[in-house]
Amino acid sequence: MKNIRTEILDILQDDAKVSAKEIASMLGEKEEAIAAEIKKLEEEKVILKYKTLINREKAEYDHSEGIIEVKVEPQRERGYDEIAKRIYRFDEVKAVYLMSGTYDLSVHVEASTMKQISEFVFEKLAVMDGIRSTATYFIMRKYKEHGVVFVEDEKDERLVISP
């Protein structure tokens, strides 16, 4: 049996809209205890935010996403943190990861159009001090994100009634 914290996180990670009451029922616990634990998780910043996963293709508004591989000069004493911070403060930037391998930072950006992303790269990112090179990749279609499949509606293929 996993501990209550892990269970709560596991349930909320899959569906942030599940209420404390429902979680309590699923785990065989008291509602107040679950609500208190969730509050604690929020205060401790274990739970950072509840967001919504959107299929932009269906939402029908202009939207573009890209992933940029960035090679940087790490700085003495500060390593990669300082340059990462300068990058992630831009609104367009949705995620920044320090990577192992042939480049250093993986920068995920979002904007209304591809043009805006391009402009961001050559006006803001590529010219920044400490950046050696960038390679930009545009996302053409999303198949799966955060464990959710985008391209097909998963149907229940089972018989309605079976023994």
Binding site: K2, E7, D10, I11, D15, V18, E22, S25, M26, L27, G28, D156, R158, L159, V160, I161, S162, P163
Partner: protein
């Protein structure tokens, strides 16, 4: 032509399935939320499917040994030993076309005309017809809600006669969700030994127990020699459509069963056997992570359903196995069949009437929680409305 005179008497005598009738009603409706499904809502893990596709690509499209591929039986042997402390040699294992075939060859290997076989009631729909088709007499053993639908020695002693040859152990149970603990099993085995019965233990839901670990009756002292253990991949690995099960037991009984198996089936499907090898190998390597994750998901839904149904006055005992709850609907004064028929027509929620599982099922309905939490929540909402609108809540 008058076909009636050609159809065998024992086939004619088997009543039509109680599930079939209900299936016809429910499957004609759109937007039904079904709590009537007796199989996992998970799809087979992709690594298993992928391996089967590869097996077909590389030409694994032939007959296998009657017993099943050696590698599969080695994996089954390891699995049974590690998960359930059941120790069988690979020559004491047959891979079958689902646990259903395993049941069939077990019945046919031991039952002679007139032999009595104890069949739990309520229980899985195949036991009774299976015994009858083998020429035996299926004797129902009533299990009751007051006793959490378990066998007791008193009830067994009452139904055993000198013609009784075997008893079916159906735990964890479909439709009730009942299990029997080690202590409870110990309490009945001397009745079985004293009356020299063979046990056919259907352990297809063995992985799906909650709070208690499944104990196979074959692991109890003096029982292995008289037990036929049946299991399969359908429930633990979400592989119902692959039709892969197995049976393990004493060599002489297995040899008798393989005789029927080799002439009627020949072997379990080769690609499914390859899939079974992958399922067991990978899970073994990963410490049964996928299985544990699945059990954890079912457990949440189980607690949810048990609590919510009790809350709206459809009392049910806490099921400790399988993926069913079996609430009592007697306070509505409807029969199980009427309740389910009205529920699906008025609120589009499909459950299975308890009577589909034989004697003792009247007054109960089977609700499967092998369905998403959203579906379960919606179903509870609709059942609540159904009860309120009819003045039962």
């Amino acid at each position: 032509m008058n076909y009636d005179k050609y159809i065998a008497k024992c086939v004619k005598e088997i009543p039509p399935s109680g599930i079939r009738k209900f299936f016809d009603i429910a499957s004609e409706m759109d937007d039904v939320i079904s709590l009537g499904v007796g199989e996992p809502d998970f799809t087979t893990p992709w690594n298993i499917c992928e391996m089967a596709i590869y097996a077909i690509e590389k030409g694994q499209t032939h007959y296998t040994s009657n017993h099943g591929m050696t590698e599969l039986r080695i994996e089954i042997k390891k699995y049974l030993s590690e998960r359930f402390e059941l120790d069988y040699d690979i020559n004491e294992i047959i891979a079958t076309v689902g646990a259903s075939e395993a049941l069939d060859i077990a019945f046919r290997a031991i039952v002679e005309a007139g032999d009595e076989v104890l069949v739990p009631a309520p229980s899985y729909v195949s036991y009774m017809p299976g015994v009858r088709l083998a020429g035996g007499v299926a004797v129902p053993v009533l299990t009751v809600a007051e006793n959490d639908f378990k066998y007791t020695r008193e009830v067994l002693e009452k139904v055993i006669t000198e013609k009784t040859k075997a008893i079916i152990m159906p735990f964890p149970n479909n439709p009730t969700g009942a299990i029997m603990t080690k202590e409870e099993l110990e309490d009945i085995i001397d009745v079985i030994i004293k009356n020299d019965l063979i046990v056919i233990s259907d352990e297809i839901y063995a992985e799906l127990t909650y709070d208690y670990k499944h104990v196979s009756i074959a692991t109890l002292e003096g029982m292995k020699e008289r037990c036929i253990v049946i299991n399969g991949f359908s429930k633990a690995f979400a592989m119902t459509g692959w039709r892969l099960g197995y049976v393990a037991g004493p060599r002489e009984l297995v040899d008798a069963m393989v005789k029927i198996h080799q002439y009627t089936i020949l072997c379990a499907p080769a690609a499914a056997q390859e899939a079974g090898i992958e399922a067991l190998k990978t899970e073994h390597k990963n410490g049964f992570k996928q299985v544990r994750n699945m059990i954890n998901q079912y457990n949440r839904r189980r607690r949810f359903m048990h609590e919510e149904l009790n809350k709206i006055g459809l009392s049910c005992f806490e099921p400790l196995g399988a993926f069913y709850v079996f609430p009592d609907i007697r306070k509505t004064s409807l029969s199980s069949y009427e309740f389910c028929e009205r529920l699906v027509k008025e609120k589009m929620v499909a459950c299975v009437p308890g009577t589909a599982f034989g004697e003792g099922g009247e007054g109960f309905i089977r609700c499967s929680y092998a369905s998403s939490m959203e579906n379960l929540k919606e179903a509870i909402k609709r059942i609540t409305e159904f009860l309120e609108e009819n003045g039962w809540l």
